[in-house]
């Protein structure tokens, strides 16, 4: 699913830039906010399985530039993650066995 905003920015780029991209083999992931596409109003902190997808292995919050979330939903997500952490639903720091 492509959002119209993304489409516009793609079209806005000139042909030269596109060629450069091809030459440099730069891979651009499509940035789509998953909460916008699923039409969610509220992100529930009780649903920890959903939150885990936006955490790194160490338990850090994945930045917006990587996950592609919009600012509005990233703020809500951060709040939900912090609440879930406080209630021991998800870890503050996940130990990685070495």
């Amino acid at each position: 699913m492509k959002r119209p905003m993304n489409k516009n920015t793609r079209n806005g780029r000139n042909a030269l830039n596109k060629q450069m991209d091809k030459k440099n083999f730069k891979i651009r992931r499509k940035r789509v906010c998953r909460f916008c596409t699923s039409n969610d109003i509220y992100i529930d902190f009780k649903n920890e399985k959903r939150l885990v997808r936006f955490l790194t292995e160490q338990g850090k919050i994945i930045p917006r530039r990587t996950s592609g979330n919009c600012a509005k939903h990233q703020r809500q997500l951060a709040l939900a993650i912090k609440r879930a952490r406080h209630l021991a639903l998800i870890p503050y720091v996940a130990d990685i066995a070495r």
Binding site: D40, I41, Y42, Q76, R83, R85, H86, L87, A88, L89, I90, P91, Y92
Partner: protein
């Protein structure tokens, strides 16, 4: 008055009667202070994501209530004093939560309506079949009568 929710984690090693007692205690505390308890949801024993007071499991209880702004302070006083409570959190429902609930309620209402309509349709379908059968029997009766007259 606004909607609030408090979640607290009790020591899971407590006997069940003691857990009931603690939940009732919080409920009574809320009710004596002009709060309207809407729902008590017991998640039960769950594994904690990290150890709290050297405990790996906790008993989660969620209480939703309607209150003025004094309730969070009241609850935090209670929970801080009570060492059977490992962790607690009280928060006020923001507009997003309320919107989301209204939406899901609307959806549920729609679904029940559709179900009812389906049932109505089924009933409507059943009736004509019975009528058709009646007609058939009536025709058969006529035929037999005709046969009789022929004889």
């Amino acid at each position: 008055m606004a909607l609030y929710e408090t979640i607290f984690i009790l020591d899971s090693l407590l006997p069940p009667e003691e857990i009931d007692k603690q939940v009732d205690r919080v409920k009574e505390l809320l009710e004596t202070n002009n709060c309207k308890v809407i729902e008590i949801d017991r998640w039960g024993k769950r594994r904690l994501a990290y150890e709290i007071q050297k405990k790996q499991y906790g008993y989660y209880v969620v209480i939703e209530f309607d209150s003025d702004g004094t309730a969070p302070q009241l609850l935090s006083n209670e929970f801080n004093y009570n060492d059977k409570v490992l962790r607690y959190m009280t928060y006020r429902f923001n507009k997003n939560i309320i919107k989301d609930r209204a939406k899901s309620e609307l959806k549920a209402a729609k679904e029940t309506k559709e179900l009812e309509e389906k049932i109505d349709e089924k009933e409507a379908k059943v009736e004509p079949v019975i009528e058709a059968k009646k007609v058939e029997t009536a025709e058969e009766g006529k035929e037999t009568e005709n046969e009789k007259t022929n004889e």
